[in-house]
Symmetry: C2
Subunit: 464 residues, 2 copies
């Protein structure tokens, strides 16, 4: 395998603007192109590739958009070998150079050993590292130590639309021979020490719309006599979380798993240099001062973030508008054993209470637009032990055993539908900036990650 070739393919893949979050035809076309390019790459590797038509998606505004196909691919079907299925996604979060990127987000740019570009670490780089590992065996003309399957989608950032139905349908076909499932869609907790992830948070994404009329007002002509939708919305959003990060929705903490002494000890075992973490995050001060509190609030407690407002004045300058209709957006990261539909009811009831106390004549509509379950695994499963050994071989160190505060809904889904052990083996460093401006993957992580996957194939062969 030529690592330069791997980087060139990453450059090609990053150049495709496969944004699944903004529901516009242009990005959907890019997503389809992305899936075609990936299918071609796997075919050239000798895989048997199926691109599954996923139909189309009905948006809240009535618009219908096609869903990019899911790639199911297979390499080898030796019944004497174990079968490892790799899940990845090739869609990305929105990126716009004007939002603070130092370069065109869709042109992979190397600076000081860092490969900058939207999707570089989330998740195009890791998908390619797995492909590179397979192609290394091919280049060396060695048999693959395990049978390999791929399931690659293009809607992860938009909530893996329609994927669950597909996995359910393929449960006894594509997934029937699968022994283990590997995902590499999160980050280490440090810049240099690898990790294995055994749990992820879920996510409930809410919109709260406040409407006076479907047209804006001029603040000179109407300011002073209206129940202004923005005043209502700001009060609603302000009722959700206090300045210490505590969520104010009644009952929201009721189902959070109680904290045990044993669990506390797992956090103590993790090396986290808070000073380095704060510096690499470029955050002056966190809500908490100890390593244990920080890890627990990222992994095992829920959090609420307010993302923004649609329909208000969001440009530079000074527009004297009273927006007629605004949509607030926030989400709650869920942890075991919170339940998505209970949270939906709690949030809706809370917002209705707050709104009714305002005696506003506006209309309020609360919607949960995404509901993704939290996930937790058994870290004594065999593939966890294999992954640990592969990490020792490539990096010469024990991995951090971590959870992830992000949501990778497919983990929970595989566990519940396919009933196979799922492991998350992240490749990216803590400062990769997934979902934000100047996302990158380190050249070192990309190359060592490729080696790690190859070593993991060999360890998995030992298991069988």
């Amino acid at each position: 395998m030529d690592p330069k070739l791997g980087r060139m393919t990453l450059k090609e893949w990053v150049a495709i603007e496969s944004d699944s979050v903004q529901p516009v035809p242009r990005f959907r076309q890019e997503l389809f192109r992305m899936m075609t390019v990936a299918a071609d790459t796997l075919q050239r590797l000798g895989a048997h590739v199926t691109s599954v038509d996923m139909g189309s998606q009905q948006l809240p505004d009535g618009q219908s958009l096609p869903i990019p196909p899911v790639i199911l691919a297979e390499l080898g079907n030796d019944p004497t070998k174990g079968t490892v299925c790799f899940y990845g996604h090739l869609d990305v979060q929105p990126a716009d150079q004007g939002d603070g990127w130092l370069m065109d987000p869709y042109v992979l740019t190397e600076v000081d050993g860092k490969l900058y570009g939207r999707g570089a670490t989330d998740n195009k780089g890791p998908v390619l590292a797995w492909i590179n590992a397979v192609s290394a065996f091919r280049a060396l003309e060695q048999d693959l130590p395990v049978n390999i399957k791929f399931i690659i989608e293009g809607m992860e950032e938009a909530g893996s639309v329609a994927l669950e139905e597909l996995v359910e349908k393929e449960k006894n076909r594509f997934f029937s021979g699968v022994d283990y499932i590997v995902i590499s869609d999160n980050l280490w907790i440090s810049q240099r020490k690898p990790a294995i992830t055994y749990g992820t948070r879920g996510n409930s994404y809410f919109t709260v719309e406040v409407k006076c009329r479907d047209q804006d007002f001029h603040s000179g002509t109407f300011g002073g006599i209206l129940h202004e939708p923005m005043a209502d919305l700001v009060a609603l959003l302000g009722s959700l979380v206090d300045s210490s990060g505590h969520i104010l929705v009644p009952g929201i903490y009721d189902e959070v798993a109680p904290l045990t002494e044993e669990e506390i000890n797992t956090y103590k075992a993790i090396h986290l240099d808070l000073e380095e973490y704060r510096n690499s995050s470029r955050v002056e001060k966190f809500l908490f001062d100890t390593k244990e509190e920080i890890l627990m609030h990222l992994w095992r407690y829920p959090s609420l973030s307010i993302h923004g407002i649609e329909g208000a004045f969001d440009e530079p300058g000074a527009k004297t508008v009273i927006p007629g209709q605004v949509i607030g957006k926030f989400s709650i990261r869920l942890v075991p054993h919170m339940n998505v539909s209970v949270v939906e009811k709690q949030v809706t009831r809370h917002l209705e209470d707050v709104f009714s106390k305002r005696n506003s004549s506006n209309k309020m509509v609360v919607s949960m637009t995404l509901g993704l379950h939290p996930w937790i695994a058994n870290i004594n499963d065999t593939q966890y032990l294999a992954a640990k050994r592969a990490i020792r071989t490539v990096f010469g160190t024990e991995p951090d055993m971590i959870r992830d505060g992000s949501t990778i809904p497919i983990t929970k889904m595989f566990q519940e539908i396919v009933h196979k052990s799922v492991v998350l083996i992240p490749l990216g460093a803590v400062d990769d900036g997934e979902h934000s401006q100047n996302e990158k993957i380190n050249r070192w992580n990309y190359i060592e990650g490729t080696k790690l996957f190859a070593a993991f194939f060999l360890e998995m062969a030992q298991l069988h």
Copy 2:
């Protein structure tokens, strides 16, 4: 005068995207083109036209943009006649068809006698009505009853940048012979009954920036351990006004002029059909139930509107971002005898108080980006009486004597610098939707408005 010709010119003028609010080079070029087109029109009318270079404008981000020229024009200088100066502006608020316009906002479109287009009523239509009135005398080969001056600018919606310096400079030159100043940059209070305006509210426009870092975060990776800027900002904005529209900034009402019995009577005299007003506004319920309360809260009490947030997620879809740096925007409409710099101090102190109680590690910066004084006139000045008579002649009715809740800073400025009586003679109907989607001027208002200005010239000649 051919009224069709007047409408065709309005179509041409509306087609120029002279947006002064969004500080981008493309719109500035359009503004310059707008001023050139207007100067040409005035020259063809026989006016002596000067386009005054206004230099350039330094934006907060360091960018420099040229300011469109101000047109000073003169028609006639007969010392036996009075001299009336007309102020108008040819810049417009932002307009984007995707925001809910039923047509391209820059293509004047007639539907049921309504001429839709950005700037149709604010302020291109009224400027053209005045020009049409002058050209009517020309077409009839009659002498103008008065000497006419024009001062026409292109930065009104952006706070009339640099205009005050120009008026100060021209005080003893261009303005030396001026007896009266007429502005037509607001609306009637009804759909059919004309009005004269003797007061306007001022405006203090604020930005409050909350910054953690200049890069966004992923809510999975950082949600739960940050002082999130959006949570701070929502709390700050939520502390400004209560659900009854009462402003919560301490001391803000201290300098509001006390309400007299005589003043209450002026509101009682105004005909306002609340039911019709509510229907034409398409508002289900106002904050107040009586005509007097509504008029007072639009004209003689301050109001606070929250306009929006820059830097947060404002697109359709569900992005799980924690914005790293956000800017909230709100403004307070000021009334006699509130003072701009006192208000600036009160708001800044209040936000600093609220922010310090949150113990947030973020940085907050409050800025007043515009500060415009309220204005009030003596309604017994001679030109007020002349305008009343002209209205009786053209419309056969007494005008509503009203104030305007909007800010027309030039009124206060003319009064204070030029020391001449200023009158506001609006032409547009209450439902014209200035600053909002589907702005329009009625064909009837545009034509009768032209007649009204012609009648006003004749009445002014009588005065002299």
